[in-house]
Every structure is written in structure tokens, then in C-alpha cells.
């Protein structure tokens, strides 16, 4: 007697009532992050290329509990309805699994993240190198553990590199959450849910160019410049990890 998901709107996931009081801790002056990291310390990052064999290129990224797979297809024929274009097209899609979030979701496409991913990547890709065709970048968030979009962007640029799409540089992305007076880099889901403001940067570290910068919520001017510097430094470090991942994959392929 299996019910179809559509008919199951009457179900609810049981919550822990003691959890509700937790956010108040964040406003205190001396507290530790839930995963006992320093404020300016990122989660350990793990990258692996070639996660999906049927794609032209792919990458898997894991930052703590945030787990993401990105597949790249193409360059392939553009849709019939598309107008003629001298330069290539980039098509991005980000979706979540139904079990990615603590409360079971619908697993639908995330339109906002799809367009943000597109904007973060398009500046880095040499679209002239594949005229009249389309490169598809599809991301699936297997598990959402905070800082989802930055992880998706970094992982997508690695997948593009794996697919052999020409780029000016890898795009790396890091976000910072502002809680009270504190700036927390690479926030987890709990921290993101009670942040006052946040800043996300996607950049090309070797060229020192920013492809996307988003600021939401409350962030004072001195905090803003400090947050930007934090992000840019972290992006540079992330690029090293991604580069070494690509090198490893290339040397493994040679053997």
C-alpha cells in the first residue's frame, strides 16, 4: 500500500522541540561554531573529477555535509528554437534532491541558483571557442549543509575544466555570513539560518577578477571590506585544491 507522494501532504516530519532555543547562543560574544571551527576557517574541501561517466565532464564536491555533483554535457547542438549565435551558449540548472534538506522537499529546480550559477560562470568561459553550440551545466545538490551555491559554482568550474571547455581561469566561490559583530566564513546551514547578512564572491583567483558578488542583508562598511578580503583569500586557497585535483586526475589518466 504505497501512497503516491502527491497524496501525502498530510504527513509531517517530527521535530525536536528542544532545538528551538539554540539561535540565542549565536548572539553571545564568545561562542564556538557548531562544528568547532574558527570564525575564519573553512570546512575541509574535497573534490573529485570524473564522477559521472556518461557526461563530457563532471565533478563531485564535498564541504562538510554539503555534497554536490555537477555534470557538463556538450558542446552540443543548441535547441531548435534558439536564434543563430556566433558565440556558444551556456545553460545552467541547479536542482536539489528531495532528501537534501532537513525537511523533505519537492526536489524541484532552483531557478534562482540556476541563474546565479550561469552569471558566475559565463564571464570565465571562452564562449567564442564553441560557436553555434550549447554547453549544459547541470548541478544536483545531494545534501544541503550550508554554502550550497558557492560549492556548486566551484564544483561546476571544475566539471567544465574536466570536460575540456576553454576558460580563462577556474572560478572559485566562497561566502561569509555576518552574525552580530562576527564574520563567519563558509557557514553551515544552522549559521546561515540565523545570519544578519551575507556576502558571496565568485572569482578567478589567478587573474584576481571577480565574476559575481552578492551582498544580502545587513553588513556594515568595515565588515564588508573585511568580508571581501576573507573571501578572496579563501578563494585563492580553494583554487589550489582544485588545481591539484585536476593535476591528480591528469597524471592518473596518463598512467
Amino acid at each position: 500500500m504505497a501512497a503516491k507522494p502527491g497524496t501525502a501532504s498530510t504527513t509531517y516530519s517530527p521535530v525536536d522541540p528542544t532545538h528551538k532555543t539554540k539561535p540565542s547562543i549565536f548572539t553571545d560574544s564568545d561562542w564556538v561554531r557548531p562544528d568547532s571551527r574558527g570564525f575564519h576557517q573553512c570546512r575541509p574541501a574535497f573534490f573529485r573529477t570524473g564522477a559521472v561517466n556518461s557526461a563530457s565532464g563532471s565533478a563531485y564536491a564535498e564541504f562538510g555535509n554539503t555534497k554536490v555533483i555537477v555534470s557538463v554535457f556538450g558542446p552540443r547542438e543548441s535547441k531548435k528554437a534558439m536564434m543563430y549565435s556566433d558565440i556558444g551558449r551556456l545553460n545552467c540548472n541547479v536542482s536539489y534532491t528531495t532528501f537534501a534538506t532537513p525537511v523533505r522537499g519537492q526536489g524541484s529546480d532552483n531557478k534562482e541558483y540556476s541563474s546565479m550559477l550561469h552569471k558566475a560562470l559565463e564571464g570565465a568561459i571562452i564562449l567564442e571557442s564553441f560557436p553555434k553550440t550549447t554547453v549544459d551545466v547541470f548541478a544536483l545538490v545531494l545534501e544541503s549543509g550550508g554554502s550550497d551555491l558557492p560549492v556548486v559554482i566551484s564544483c561546476a568550474s571544475l566539471a567544465l575544466a574536466d570536460a575540456g571547455i576553454m576558460m580563462y581561469d577556474l572560478v572559485t566561490s566562497v561566502s561569509v555570513s555576518c552574525l552580530g559583530k562576527n564574520l563567519l566564513i563558509d557557514p553551515i546551514l544552522e549559521e546561515e539560518s540565523c545570519q544578519d547578512g551575507s556576502l558571496m564572491i565568485a572569482c578567478m583567483p589567478s587573474r584576481y577578477e571577480v565574476t559575481q558578488l552578492t551582498v544580502t542583508g545587513e553588513l556594515s562598511a568595515p565588515n564588508l571590506s573585511e568580508a571581501m578580503q576573507l573571501c578572496l583569500d579563501a578563494c585563492a586557497k580553494l583554487a589550489q585544491i582544485m588545481r591539484s585535483c585536476l593535476k591528480e586526475a591528469a597524471s592518473a589518466a596518463e598512467e
Binding site: 507522494p5 522541540p17 555534470s71 534532491t97 532528501f99 523533505r104
Partner: protein, 365 residues
């Protein structure tokens, strides 16, 4: 207007002109022929240039066209013949014997946000299954039973065929087959139920578990049903049901660690029911039938060329759970089906061992 895109090496392999169209019926030139020699194809014609380095290494590939073409071109142009040539040598293009399945692995607990999860890989076909437990009010007919909802997803990342917004045709079909296999199995409780739905009950008539099982295909390379079913049963064996209690509003809430130790007035409703008892577990094997050959565990390429598939589902005690033969051009003799069942019986033992290893590996950690 129609165009056909032809791979350049293949085109060069066949492009030729013998100037036949420039002669009238009596064999005289209609126009003055060009001074240069006619273009002769590499693949056929008088001047064969045999590519010795890339030649297919099969002994009887002598007079055939295939010996003069690049292997890759032959594979693309005549996929069926390419495969049949392998089959006569009792080997498959990926160097497997005909009746051997690909390497299979299971990793339990891949998703921390779910109550039970598993990642199953057969060759490069990858499936991620996760179970989330939610609470529902049981129906009046069965106040002591929970429910299982199964959904199979093919996100655009898994295959070049799937595009966002256009779900793959195979997904709803597989979804139905999986839920038939798992939940039908559930229903025959008297016989050999995989899960007793009564174990999902919390408070009779008031609350019961609804287990949402979602299976995501991360990489589609054939035998999707086998991999999906394997990940599903692995997720069920990994499932840890949270300890819950009934609060004053009649809602089910999760018990925190402190409450469990304090032994306060709230009592857990499901203290003993943390794991589901899986009495028997279904496993499956998909085979391709082509002429008199049986190919176990096909890849996506094989599935696209030879269309007749037979999927046999057996449970761990060797009883037949279901059998699918969705059409296809080859009509099946019962003997072939019996062969498939025998192959599945062997495969079930393998899969059972792989699953047992994965579970015992979890317990050590």
C-alpha cells in the same frame, strides 16, 4: 531539407566517385572528364589502404569490410554487427564474459540528512537512495499500518538524454516497477514479506510512519532497475528510525538525548522499533536476449542496440518475486527464461554477500 551529420573519418572512409553519372547509357562521356583521377574511398574500391595498427584483432575478420575500417568507425556505423562479432568470440566489448555482471559496490549512510541511505554502483551505473521518515495518520482500514512511498528520479546530471524540465521516459516506468517489487513484496506478509508494515505503526489509529524512499540515478549506464533496487534494499537495511514521543497536542516529536536519560514523563512510543526487520530481500538481474545469446547486466550501449530485456527479481530465499520482459524484438523460449532465472540465482548470492559486507563494515566503524 534534411541533413545528416557524418563523422569526418567515416565520411572519408566511404566518399568515392567513379564518374558513372558522367556517361550516357552507351558508355560515352557526356562531358569532358576532369584530368585528375577519380576519388576512391579508403573503405571500399580498388585501392584499399588497410589500417593495420587499428585493425580489429579478430581472426575471421578477413574479407569483411570491417577489417578495412577503423574500429571506432565500425562501432558507430554498424553497432549491431560490431557486437555480434564480439559475441561469436564469447566476449563483450568491455572484456566481460557474456554472463558476467559488472563490479558492484554498496556504501551505506551516504546522506547524513536522511534516516537511511545507500549508494550502489554497478559498473558505472550509480544510484543514491535515501529514506526520510515522516508521520501520518493511518487510514481507517488499516489503523496499525504505516506506509512506504517510492519514487525514482532521473536528474539531468545522469545522462545526456535527460534535459531539465523534460523528465526521462524511463523514470516513471522504473518508479512503478520498483514500488511494485518492494511494496507488493511488503503486502504478502504471510509468505515472505520484506517489511512488515505493522512495524511502521506508532500509535494505533493515530500515528504511523510514512517512509519516503527516493532513489536518484547519478550515472545511467544500463541495468538501471538492478542498481535502483539494490540501493533501495541497502537503504532499508541502513535505516535507523528516530526515537519519538507523543507530546500534549497529540503530535509526534523527536526525543532529545537529555529526555532519554532523564526518564521524564514523556515516554518514547517506539523504543524497541529502531530497525525494520527485513525477513527476505529482493535482488534482481537484467539480461539481454539476442538470438541465442544471453548477456547479463547490460551497459547503456548494449541496451540501446539489442532491445530485448528480461529482468528477473528473486528474493534471498530463491523465490521468484517478479519477472519483466517488456516487449522487444526477440521472442523468448521458456528455456531462455529459465537460464535467466538460473543466472539471477547466482547473482542474488553475490549481491547478498556484497550487502552483508557493507552492513558488517558499518557495524565495525
Amino acid at each position: 531539407m534534411f541533413f545528416r551529420i557524418v563523422h569526418a573519418p567515416i565520411f572519408l572512409c566511404f566518399f568515392a566517385s567513379d564518374r558513372r553519372h558522367m556517361k550516357d547509357p552507351t558508355g560515352n562521356w557526356i562531358a569532358e572528364p576532369p584530368s585528375y583521377e577519380p576519388i576512391v574511398a579508403e573503405g571500399e574500391g580498388a585501392f584499399l589502404r588497410i589500417k593495420k595498427q587499428k585493425r580489429m584483432g579478430l581472426p575471421n575478420a578477413s574479407e569483411d569490410l570491417s577489417s578495412e575500417m577503423e574500429v571506432d568507425a565500425f562501432r558507430r556505423l554498424f553497432p549491431l554487427r560490431y557486437f555480434e562479432r564480439h559475441l561469436t568470440e564469447s566476449i563483450r566489448p568491455d572484456a566481460r564474459p557474456l554472463r558476467k555482471a559488472r563490479d558492484t559496490t554498496i556504501a551505506l549512510g551516504a546522506v547524513a540528512s536522511a534516516d537511511g541511505s545507500a549508494l550502489a554502483k554497478i559498473g558505472s551505473t550509480t544510484m543514491l537512495a535515501a529514506i526520510k521518515m515522516e508521520v501520518m495518520t493511518p487510514s481507517l482500514e488499516s489503523p496499525d499500518e504505516g506506509c512506504i512511498a517510492i519514487d525514482f528520479h532521473m536528474p539531468p546530471i545522469c545522462s545526456p538524454i535527460v534535459r531539465p524540465g523534460r523528465p526521462a521516459e524511463a523514470a516513471p516506468v522504473l518508479s512503478k516497477q520498483l514500488s511494485d517489487t518492494i511494496t507488493r513484496h511488503v503486502n504478502f506478509v504471510l509468505h515472505s514479506g520484506m517489511i512488515n508494515l505493522k512495524e511502521l505503526s506508532l500509535v494505533s489509529g493515530k500515528a504511523a510512519w510514512m517512509a519516503y524512499l527516493d532513489i536518484y540515478c547519478l550515472d545511467a549506464d544500463g541495468a538501471l532497475f538492478d542498481a535502483a533496487l539494490l540501493s533501495a534494499v541497502a537503504a532499508f537495511s541502513h535505516l535507523q528510525i528516530p526515537v519519538v514521543s507523543l507530546d500534549y497536542d497529540g503530535k509526534i516529536v523527536i526525543m532529545s538525548e537529555e529526555q532519554k536519560e532523564e526518564n521524564s514523563e514523556t515516554k518514547p512510543v517506539n523504543k524497541e522499533k529502531r530497525k525494520l526487520t527485513l525477513s527476505t530481500i529482493p535482488f534482481s538481474l537484467t539480461c539481454i536476449l539476442h538470438k541465442s545469446y544471453i548477456l547479463a547486466d547490460p551497459t547503456a550501449e548494449e541496451e540501446s542496440i539489442m532491445e530485448t530485456l528480461v529482468t528477473v527479481v528473486l528474493d534471498s530465499s530463491g523465490q521468484l518475486v517478479s519477472l519483466y520482459k517488456p516487449g522487444g524484438s526477440v521472442l523468448v523460449y521458456t528455456s531462455a527464461v529459465q537460464d535467466c532465472v538460473a543466472l539471477t540465482r547466482q547473482r542474488v548470492k553475490e549481491l547478498q554477500n556484497i550487502l552483508d559486507d557493507a552492513i558488517s563494515g558499518m557495524e565495525i566503524d
